[in-house]
């Protein structure tokens, strides 16, 4: 690795590791945790939406499944939320297959429409099912029985837990970028017909990308449930959850390793600020802003900020 590149990584690593030590008060620790959570869910979306170019606008369905399972298992059997992680992944992957199997042999729009429809379908079902808490939702352990209940007083243990997961996900993405699978995904995104003519198993690759993406989105949901100890149909499956995942990835740079982290680092503080500035009406304004940003990205720089940065740098060098 070239020296300048390596320095960049070390610096980033230092910032991420050291953040809670420097900004240890509750507000900033929580902020950092939320940024990391956003980065995880956006990076998960990025696998199928950014790299493979299959735009899911209902990814909340996987996040929500991951959030509900641990709390559900706790409610029924009093199990540690940790058991819910693989359960959430299993359910999410099953939903991924339900959506992907029929739609990946059709044009891209069908997949996108299906993701919204299934997310809504599940949101309504869950919201009306008393077993799953209906519209009130589910709650996790209030007082921890041990460390494995994942209930901590301060944000800092969560911060490092989230960081570990993010690092794992990014490492996996990094390895994938350099593998045959990664090249195939990018080829599918760049030209499906040509990819097919070169022997790329298009449908299978899309499915794998979606399954992987669903699994990690589910983990993000489970991590959310672990920290907040609470989930309801809107915070789990609502369209705004999906919007956040998409926007964070797209703003930073869809299809780029660090795009989602960049997007999360910008949007999470932004959202918290606008919410506190405008109070209750903040929700409306934040999403008006989001809508505008998304349209601008789509219109002028679909590759996001990282692409914009590359372009500026390229022009200066030229």
């Amino acid at each position: 690795m070239r020296p300048r590149r390596a320095t960049g990584w070390v610096l980033l690593g230092a910032v991420l590791l050291g953040y809670p030590l420097v900004f240890s008060d509750a507000y900033y620790a929580q902020l950092g945790t939320l940024v990391l959570l956003g980065a995880i869910s956006a990076s998960a979306w990025n696998l199928v939406g950014g790299y493979a170019g299959q735009v899911s606008v209902g990814h909340a369905v996987f996040f929500g499944a991951g959030a509900y399972l641990p709390l559900l298992l706790y409610k029924i059997w009093g199990w540690s939320p940790i058991v819910g992680f693989p359960a959430g992944i299993a359910v999410s992957v099953a939903i991924a297959l339900l959506i992907g199997l029929p739609t990946f042999r059709l044009s891209g729009h069908y997949f996108s429409m299906a993701t919204i429809a299934v997310a809504e379908l599940i949101r309504i079902l869950v919201g009306n099912w008393d077993f799953l808490g209906a519209s009130i939702g589910l709650m996790g352990p209030a007082t921890p029985r041990a460390w494995w209940d994942l209930v901590f007083q301060s944000s800092i243990p969560y911060y490092y837990l989230y960081l570990a997961v993010l690092v794992a996900l990014l490492a996996l993405t990094f390895a994938m970028e350099r593998s045959r699978f990664g090249y195939y995904l990018r080829a599918i995104h760049a030209g499906e017909r040509a990819a097919r003519s070169l022997g790329v198993p298009v449908r299978r690759c899309k499915l794998y990308a979606l399954m992987l993406s669903a699994a990690f989105s589910s983990v993000a949901g489970s991590l959310y449930a672990a920290k907040f100890g609470f989930i309801d149909p809107n915070s789990g499956f609502g369209i705004l959850v999906s919007v956040n995942m998409v926007l964070m990835a797209a703003l930073g740079g869809a299809g780029r390793l660090l795009g989602p982290l960049l997007g999360a680092a910008i949007l999470v503080p932004l959202q918290i600020t606008t919410n506190s500035l405008f109070g209750g009406g903040g929700t409306g304004l934040t999403y008006i802003l989001y809508g505008g940003i998304i349209m601008l990205i789509a219109r002028f720089e679909p590759g996001g900020l990282l692409e914009l940065w590359d372009r500026i740098r390229g022009r200066r060098a030229a």
Binding site: R180, Y183, A195, L198, G199, P201
Partner: protein
């Protein structure tokens, strides 16, 4: 015979774009496919490539029935193709484009990269490896497509108007490239409009008109075949060719 086409037909909603096409292609041959616009050669070509499923007839590759095989299967069996409008992966670099092809035969990144570099040498693109495919002009993209398909180690390559829209110098370079890849041992089926190219490169020419094969043979034979002249230029010229009469004066 590497490729055998028997009684191939392709109909769309009752309109027969191709009827009863037969063709035998031996290993290492260079076959040219020509015909006026709308003659059915593109449809025939796409049936061979697996993009279209013929409504009748059979296609055999190395004695295996590939009539209904998908494009992915075609590639795996060793049939590659280029596209009339170049379909390179614009956001990927030239090297990466070719690597996608190479990954069909090599599962590791290092081997795929090595193979891709080798192919870039062969096709004269080595100096541009790190550039994005989107920066290339049309001739470069056509060249890249050829490189990319060669990385899949095909035994048969279907070239779809690989030389259309090129200047005289570019055509000359392209012909050299096609000869270079032929030397590596591939069989070629070339669809082309540019006559001189076909006549220079092809050992045998198949002529389509209105969905049927109307002539088949060595370039010199085909060029003088009345049916072919009729298809391209009209009946009067065909008559003149048949009787050996000189150019007419005045009305046809």
């Amino acid at each position: 015979m590497l490729l055998s086409v028997r009684g191939l037909g392709m109909s769309f909603d009752g309109f027969a774009a191709v009827s009863d096409a037969n063709l035998e292609i031996a290993e290492r041959a260079i076959i040219g496919l020509i015909g006026p616009n709308g003659a059915g050669k593109s449809t025939f070509f796409n049936c061979l490539a697996g993009d279209l499923m013929p409504t009748s007839g059979k296609v055999l590759f190395d004695d295996a029935d590939i009539t209904h095989a998908s494009p992915e299967e075609h590639a795996r069996l060793g049939i590659g193709r280029t596209f009339q409008v170049p379909a390179t992966f614009q956001e990927l670099t030239i090297l990466e484009n070719v690597m996608v092809g190479a990954f069909l035969r090599h599962s590791g990144e290092r081997e795929a990269r090595a193979e891709a570099e080798r192919v870039l040498e062969l096709t004269g693109l080595a100096g541009l490896a790190g550039k994005k495919a989107g920066t290339l002009g049309t001739p470069g993209r056509k060249r890249l497509e050829i490189a990319r398909v060669m990385a899949t180690r095909p035994r048969l390559v279907l070239l779809d108007e690989a030389l259309a829209g090129l200047t005289a110098t570019e055509v000359h370079q392209a012909i050299e490239l096609v000869r270079a890849i032929h030397r590596t041992g591939v069989t070629l089926v070339i669809v082309e409009h540019v006559m001189e190219v076909i006549l220079t490169l092809a050992e045998r020419i198949v002529v389509f008109n209105q969905g049927r094969v109307i002539a088949h043979g060595a370039p010199s034979e085909v060029v003088n075949d009345p049916a072919v002249i009729d298809a391209y230029l009209g009946r009067s010229h065909a008559r003149r060719a048949a009787t050996g009469a000189g150019p007419s004066r005045g009305r046809a």
